[in-house]
Symmetry: C2
Subunit: 311 residues, 2 copies
DNA sequence: TTGTAACATAAGCCTGCCTTAATCTATAGT
DNA sequence: ACTATAGATTAAGGCAGGCTTATGTTACAA
């Protein structure tokens, strides 16, 4: 490896201009400085880079070879620095964002599209997943920030949560729901634990973690085996199953607001307060957000809150 | 443009190792020096490149972007320097060579093949042309050296011939020749100027510069208009034309040695000494030849001379 | 609580880069 | 032929900037 990269810059300009003097003007140093730098470089790689002709430097094969490497780099570097610089003045570049699957699927494409209307130079990388997958990505800088919901996975253990900064974005009401027909046939207004625990459940995992969480909250009962009749990978699928009377399931209330109004889907309440699933923006505690990040976060939060999920 | 490229090297290692300390070990400087360099760099581009976490640096988007440019460059640079270095120890890389058309066509392919058997890491770029095109390429470093013959174009004017170094490689005997049948029918042993100048000529240019040079040498007569019946672009074509009794033409004697021995082609002599076309190796006066160049030049000259063009 | 590991900061030294000035040399101009 | 000029190299010395040592800070482990 070369010990002094700075001399490559001198070489680059000398090669480009074919002259020490004009290079020295570009570099704002004396021609002597350029001459000396160049000699040091040649000494270092122990090869002539130019043959000295009167008032002119003619590149040797080694010089040509080196320039072929340095030239494109200088171009790219200049472009890269320009990008970094201009992303301080106006949003620019790729934003790498994590989000829960439902949240991401439901809101992100539209948000991104609308944001890009305003800031067309911003591109996106969207990683969907649960906190267990997203937080490590935030920690290692593989994504810039993430949205996470804490309910469905709230009982999982995360070490070092204090390296993150959480800011609540929106609250979802989490309910246990079933179709009206299922309710009338199976629930019959009996909201006791012993009755409810024997229902047929639609869950997101085979272990029914979401269901367990719901019962833990409402009855303070854990470690119960529930009858999971269907495992789904999305709330939309769950809602569809519920509509078809397949059983009861956990869902964000705003996603079934219409169905509840029409009486197709019925929430199952208990005396305990509602479960609120807090969706938070999470970023590294010490990270100074870039302009692009700040603007997009502001944009996204405003849009989401203006949608008023409880309406 | 970045003012201090050296700091990129520090950045590169810090990014690679994700740690100031381990970068400092690689760079053989103190941990503090690395820390300071990095801060200077961030200051210079006015963007954070890493978010500082406890005992760890996590790259930001800007850092990732910069690394994406610097990383491939460092790889290529290392490779390039390795190449340059090893081309000091054994022949390596591309040789860019100029040669006269005939000379190049006749000898080069075989030479290159045989050389590459011995030094397979050497590749070639061969530019065929006359001195008027080759010398400027040597001067501007676009080819490393060239072989030129001076006879056919000897009367052309070249400025600054003293920036080149010429070393004779081989002497060709240049003759005026025709077929035996043409000789017996048209020349009839009359080698006088007045008789010869009225023959039918095969030449390499419309202006018959080669023919003019021959008459200038043998009779000291210039500025005569000759009857050029055929213009060819190669000695092989000229030889073919001569064999078919089309007229007389200038050719290197060794190219028609066999035909002369068999009596098919006849040279036209005069009392003046033979014309010797000296083929020289030409390189820039001040250029220190690389190992690859020296070895190939030696190889080529030995091969050519061992062929003994006058045999 | 203490110890430790890793990064940041402070202060001063010293290397190495840059400047100025002189020298060299090929070309242009008279 | 003589001089002037322009561009490169060489030499010497000043000084900025990078490096080192020492200290501060902080989170994690024991």
């Amino acid at each position: 490896m070369l010990q002094n990269l700075g001399r490559l810059k001198v070489f680059y300009h000398v090669f480009s201009k074919g002259s020490v003097l004009s290079a020295s003007k570009i570099l704002h140093v004396s021609q002597s400085a350029v001459s000396q730098s160049l000699q040091k470089l040649e000494e270092e790689i122990q090869s002539q880079l130019f043959t000295r002709m009167h008032k002119r430097l003619v590149p040797t094969a080694a010089g040509e070879r080196l320039f072929a490497v340095v030239h494109p780099f200088m171009q790219e570097l200049a472009g890269c620095l320009k990008n970094i610089k201009q992303s301080r003045e106006k949003p620019f570049g790729e934003l790498r964002i994590g989000a829960p699957v439902e949240f991401g699927k439901a809101y992100f494409p539209g948000m991104v599209a609308r944001f890009r209307e305003q800031y067309p130079e911003v591109t996106f990388y969207l990683k969907l997943g649960n906190p267990a997958t997203l937080l490590p990505l935030v920690e290692t800088g593989q994504i810039d920030f993430a949205f996470v919901d804490l309910f469905l996975t709230q009982n999982q253990f995360f070490a070092n949560l204090d390296i993150y900064h959480f800011s609540p974005v929106v609250d979802e009401e989490i309910i246990l729901a079933c179709s009206k027909r299922y309710y009338e046939k199976q629930i019959k207004s009996d909201h006791s634990f012993s009755h409810l625990k024997s229902q047929q459940f639609i869950a997101y995992r085979h272990n029914a973690q979401d269901v367990k969480n719901w019962f833990k909250h409402h009855f303070n009962k854990g470690n119960v085996k529930y009858d999971v009749v269907l495992v789904v990978d999305s709330q939309q699928a769950l809602i569809s199953a519920v509509k078809h009377h397949a059983g009861v399931g956990i869902v964000a209330s705003h996603l079934v607001a219409k169905e509840m109004k029409e009486g197709l889907i019925v929430p199952i309440h208990t005396p305990k307060p509602k479960i609120i699933n807090q969706i938070s923006l999470v970023l590294l505690q010490d990270k100074v957000p870039t302009l692009t990040e700040k603007i997009f976060q502001k944009f996204l939060i405003e849009k989401i809150q203006s949608m008023n999920l409880f309406s």
